[in-house]
Amino acid sequence: MEMVTLTIDGIKVEAPKNSTVLEAARKAGIKIPTLCFLKGVNEIGACRMCVVEVKGARSLQTSCVLPVSEGMEVITNSPAVRESRKVTLELLLSDHNLECPTCIRNLNCELQTLAEELGIQSIRYPGVKSKAQYDDFSPSIVRDTSKCILCRRCVSTCHNVQSVGVISPNYRGFETVIAPVFDMSLNEVPCVNCGQCILACPVGALKEKDDTHKVWQALADPDLHVIVQTAPAIRVSLGEEFGGELGGIVTKKLPAALRRLGFDKVFDTDFSADLTIMEEGSEFLDRLQNGGKLPLITSCSPGWIKFCEHYYPELLDNLSTCKSPQQMFGALVKTYYAEKTGIDPAKIFSVSIMPCTAKKYECQRPEMFSSGYQDVDVVLTTRELSRMLKEAGIDLRKLPDEEFDEPLGISTGAGAIFGATGGVMEAALRTVYEIVTKKELDNIDFTEVRGVDGVKEATIDIDGTKVNVAVAHGLANARKILDKVKSGEADYHFIEIMCCPGGCVGGGGQPILSAEERWEVDYREERANAIYEVDRNMKLRKSHENPAVQTLYKEYLGEPLGEKSHKLLHTHYTKRDLF
């Protein structure tokens, strides 16, 4: 790599030729404030927060898009620089709905942090506020433009990371607003509810639809039997909301926390992830051996499902008919579990804790009432659960270790890895291989499908049959695979697609990191590593070995793809308009 030498604040710094002044400064331990900059996602030089003085240049330069050059002399901390940043920030604040104490992002807001760091104590520019839009019609995402600072991090994420592109800056100048076409609601445009825009937003302008009040109400109702399921990815992220390290494992704290909130039973979505593998593995074998539609594409990710319905309807028949683990779980709670315990399903209130905003939408879909009731009543994101715990005065770190309840709390490592990209594929391969070959796998770690590469491909030899698999996470990556399938260029048998980058560990309902934190570590990788550690430490690591799943088939379902499974665990999706 070709290097150049420059001086920043009098310090000699070596930096790769293609790097920016911001990068070089950060490497030298010099902090330059940023706001619109989101590494790898939004590098557009829009907000002017990162200005610096460059010797020989007439005006201040935006360091986040300024390439380094040999002999360059940069000053990041002069009176002119400080004043310029302050003016920029004060102008932003003057058109901002400053209600920090009641804001969803209070204490986790980049604008707030900057105001503190730059020492803003009053705003010199009182002025008119621009017209704001508040849009809470979507079951997943709420937009509040009164807090938007027009950084466009959400726009770049929606367009480039997710290749969905339903929000853009509309109008110009003072009127500019980040919104869908014709200022419609996100509910009326082909948004897939992924919530990646929320993770990108530095402030409280985008947030999840808060459903905590519904759960508080149910918990307070003595007539209701309130059960909860927790997704695989929660156990490696919830701790972050309580000051824990990134990707800290809190599996055993979760049951204690949820019991203290008042849930009657604390179950685990990992159980129904194992069940999904039984159904989906069987479906794959059936299609492979009986000339069914291939490639089979996984269907666990409701953001991906909606994306497929809008953008790739011609591939809907390739989708697995399996519902997501959340919805399989929901369907069983109000049937199997209700019968087994003799509890009236009408009196069961079913809550799930998900890393995902799209699942809030999923649980309301008409396909998801197969128990005769809404199978899952309320979906809470990781962030909402953490808010409830804080409100109840429960500190996760101080709780004793506890176990999930039986039988729907019993799971294997295969269920756990659903939380990371490649996990569903790996779990399926573990089971499919052993069912087909009737041999035990020597090495159950299919590391080819792990990791943060956007698209992963592998060929697995199952007793002489070569199975081509592909894994994609993030919808722009998914497009790469799907376009190949559409054109007939690819010869895949089995594809895993997760809507969110990193899979569920990077879900839109997970704890939000600042741009600076995201630059320093790949949070998806950290959380995924934790997921694989959870898997390694499980006694059972293959879905077909889950005893509770085996009992479920014996007592109730009969066999995978059987009649009952079809009624409760499978569904079909339909084409949706793009415009």
């Binding site: 969905v164 592109g165 929000i167 853009s168 509309n170 110009r172 076409v181 445009v189 793009l578 415009f579």
Partner: protein, 162 residues
């Protein structure tokens, strides 16, 4: 009734024309502004139906199309009337009562700024200095300037276009 039907037919014909025109821009994302200009030349404005055609043919999102249209002032989301009235809101006109003139126009025409009358006759807009400060307050109807206005002179001017 007949008029409405004619209008609808006319609309569909123009849509077809636009579709033909867009053939040369298949998949050309970078031609967005040009394609929109040509589409507007045919339709006169850019309703959602046209925006969808442009998005589909060029392979851009509807959101990008809308964003672009609303950014550039030469694109119109709504039809423009036969007579396009623009009221100068530049400093000179403003201090001499442009707002009162504008208000009178609004009441006379029964529309807000940016709108067009139902009979597609008049469109009302505000604009920046039109270089007729000596005649302030001034308005411009299509290409013709009317100056030294008072609200009371408005009905008389509008009569000319009946």
């Amino acid at each position: 009734m007949a008029v409405a039907l004619n209008q609808q037919q006319d609309f569909i014909e123009k849509l077809n024309k636009i579709e033909d025109m867009l053939k040369k821009y298949q998949g050309k994302r970078s031609a967005l502004i040009q394609a929109l200009q040509e589409a507007q030349a045919i339709m006169g404005y850019l309703p959602i139906e046209v925006q969808k055609l442009v998005a589909e043919n060029l392979g851009v999102t509807l959101s990008e199309v809308y964003s672009t249209i609303t950014f550039y002032s030469f694109f119109n989301l709504k039809p423009i009337g036969k007579y396009h009235i623009r009221v100068c809101l530049g400093t000179a006109c403003y201090v001499r009562g442009a707002e009162k003139v504008l208000d009178r126009l609004k009441t006379e025409l029964g529309i807000e700024v940016g709108d067009t009358t139902d009979d597609l006759k008049f469109t009302l807009d505000g604009c920046r200095c039109i270089g007729a400060c000596g005649l302030a307050p001034a308005i411009i109807v299509n290409d013709e300037v009317y100056g030294r206005l008072t609200p009371d002179k408005i009905p008389e001017i509008l009569k000319k276009f009946e």
